[in-house]
């Protein structure tokens, strides 16, 4: 890997779930697939001791803790229990019926008619996530909160304090069990990639260590779809090319995969060889966001412009508030519209000067909305703002509205101060008061 700071997992993390598509019709046939035993595990000088903690059926488990009578029932947590939502998390009993995160509620009710459907409470999960990371930080100062229910710990320099890597993981699991009452699976590996793979191997309540020596027997034997960061489409395409296991992929020369997958190709091969140099990124080290956004699914599909603009106003206020809290202003406003038939369009407009005030964002978003076809009822609206700059950056002001703008900025600062002190609902735009959507 040329640049150790930009490894596969790194890209995976920053690019999000960007799909990797096959370019052209090249195949891997020219890559002779050597037997797996030929793989010699080389120690990577960059190897560390990384733990990956993954809470088991997180949202559902928290809800089961809150309502102990649910222990022996299939539990599904949803955004709301109305038909339009999807299951956000299913406990292991519900999974036996074929329900998983993302299953539409209507389908879930058919698959598991006796299951318990609960409306999720994100505040509970966020708080529990904070507690989880507090516990993790008593085992190492280098903790990365990877998602709401997953964290990485670099225990290279602290594991000896707890008797070794396995003992550290056991102690961590015990603390999570006693203090949060929740089960988790922990993976131990020489890097984030292998630690994350390890935590998946024995779920729920697992504790698995993957060392370099385990790569031929426990990593290369996994189906290609289990390679972390690979999408279902890429896995399918690789399978079609004869690459069925992670071990098969590890044998493919970089150049071949580069031809097929572009820049991601060699990274896939490195990942298949268990190579990953991505660092643990603690909260303090998180990079500035590239964009700030918010979206909302309406209670019922609508073509009512007034209502849609009200929802848009609510979204822009939220985006503006988050933007200012982070000390940013942005130049590109993007509007996402999803129609009743799920077709989704995205339209962006880049302004000359960065904006951060709710009114400016709303004006920009509403101007885009004006040009969007409304041939069909709308189901979802999303607003985001990108091309961010720090708020302190000098801004181009039009001479004519400078005074009005200064007043508006002062009013916004006051409104933000009131919300900081009295909560987000202390002040809301007047239009939103009568709107029956809880944006």
């Amino acid at each position: 890997m040329n640049n150790p700071s930009r490894t596969f997992l790194d890209r995976r993390f920053t690019l999000g779930r960007r799909a990797v598509s096959l370019a052209g019709v090249a195949t891997c046939e020219d890559a002779a697939l050597a037997p797996l035993s030929s793989f010699a595990p080389a120690r990577d000088p960059a190897d560390r001791i990384i733990l990956h903690v993954d809470m088991d059926a997180f949202f559902a488990s928290v809800e089961q803790r809150c309502a102990p009578g649910l222990d022996d029932k299939p539990v599904m947590v949803c955004g709301n229990t109305q038909a339009r939502s999807v299951v956000a998390a299913a406990n292991y009993l519900a999974r036996e019926y074929g329900v998983k995160a993302g299953t539409p509620i209507t389908t879930a009710r058919r698959l598991c008619p006796h299951g318990v459907f609960l409306t999720g409470n994100p505040e509970k999960y966020v708080y529990t996530c904070i507690r989880l990371n507090d516990i993790c930080r008593t085992f190492s100062p280098r903790v990365e909160s990877f998602s709401i229910d997953e964290s990485f710990l670099d225990i290279t320099t602290t594991a000896h304090l707890f008797g070794g890597p396995i003992e550290t993981a056991q102690a961590l699991k015990a603390r999570i069990r006693t203090e949060l009452g929740l089960a988790c699976s922990v993976g131990i590996g020489p890097n984030k990639l292998l630690a994350k793979t390890a935590s998946k191997l024995e779920k729920p309540d697992g504790l698995t260590r993957l060392t370099r020596a385990d790569i031929p027997t426990r990593y290369h034997t996994l189906p290609i779809a289990k390679l972390y960061g690979i999408g279902a489409q890429t896995a399918k395409k690789l399978e079609a090319l004869g690459v069925r296991t992670i071990g098969h992929l590890a044998q493919v020369p970089h150049a071949t995969l580069k031809r097929i997958f572009g820049i991601i190709g060699p990274m896939l091969v490195d990942a298949a060889n268990g190579i990953d140099h991505s660092p643990i990124v603690t909260d303090d080290e998180q990079p500035d966001p590239k964009s700030v956004g918010n979206g909302y699914t309406l209670h019922a599909d609508t073509r009512d412009t007034r209502k849609l603009l009200t929802v848009l106003l609510g979204l822009c206020s939220k985006v503006g508030r988050r933007l200012r809290k982070g000390g940013h202003a942005g130049r590109t406003v993007t509007l996402v519209v999803r129609y009743a038939n799920y077709t989704t369009i995205s339209r962006a407009h880049t302004l000359e000067a960065p904006i951060a005030l709710d009114r400016d964002i709303f004006h920009a978003a509403a101007a885009i909305f004006d040009r969007v076809r409304r041939h069909m009822a709308i189901r979802y609206l999303g607003v985001s703002i990108s091309k961010l700059v720090p708020t302190e950056a000098p801004r181009q002001l039009s001479l004519f509205d400078a005074q009005a703008r200064t007043q508006l900025q002062a009013a916004t600062r006051s409104a933000d101060a009131i919300r900081d002190r009295y909560g987000e609902h202390a002040l809301i735009p007047g239009r939103l008061v009568r709107c029956k959507e809880d944006i």
Partner: protein, 85 residues
């Protein structure tokens, strides 16, 4: 299946403050006093600069209720009750 009902009512709660921790013990609601058997879960949110402490409380009667203490107003609120929990 158990049914959950939302109340959002101010209630009186007999509370023990011990060793830096808050433990609700009994709640008075609809003219009756209910003993809390145990706290099943608790979490904290913020309302502006103030903390709101939430408790999922299992009552002796077998019902479950969600109560919260606003630490600025020091008022307890009954959010919801799940009967036959």
């Amino acid at each position: 299946m158990a049914t959950t009902e939302e109340f959002n009512q101010a209630i009186d709660v007999l509370t023990v403050f011990h060793n830096g921790a808050i433990r609700p013990v009994k709640i008075k609601w609809a003219g009756r006093t209910h003993t809390i058997h145990h706290i099943a879960y608790q979490w904290i949110t913020r309302d502006g600069t103030h903390q709101v402490r939430h408790y999922a409380a299992a009552l002796d009667s077998g019902s479950l209720c969600e109560i919260e203490l606003h630490t600025h107003t020091m008022r307890w609120t009954l959010r919801k009750v799940q009967m036959d929990g």
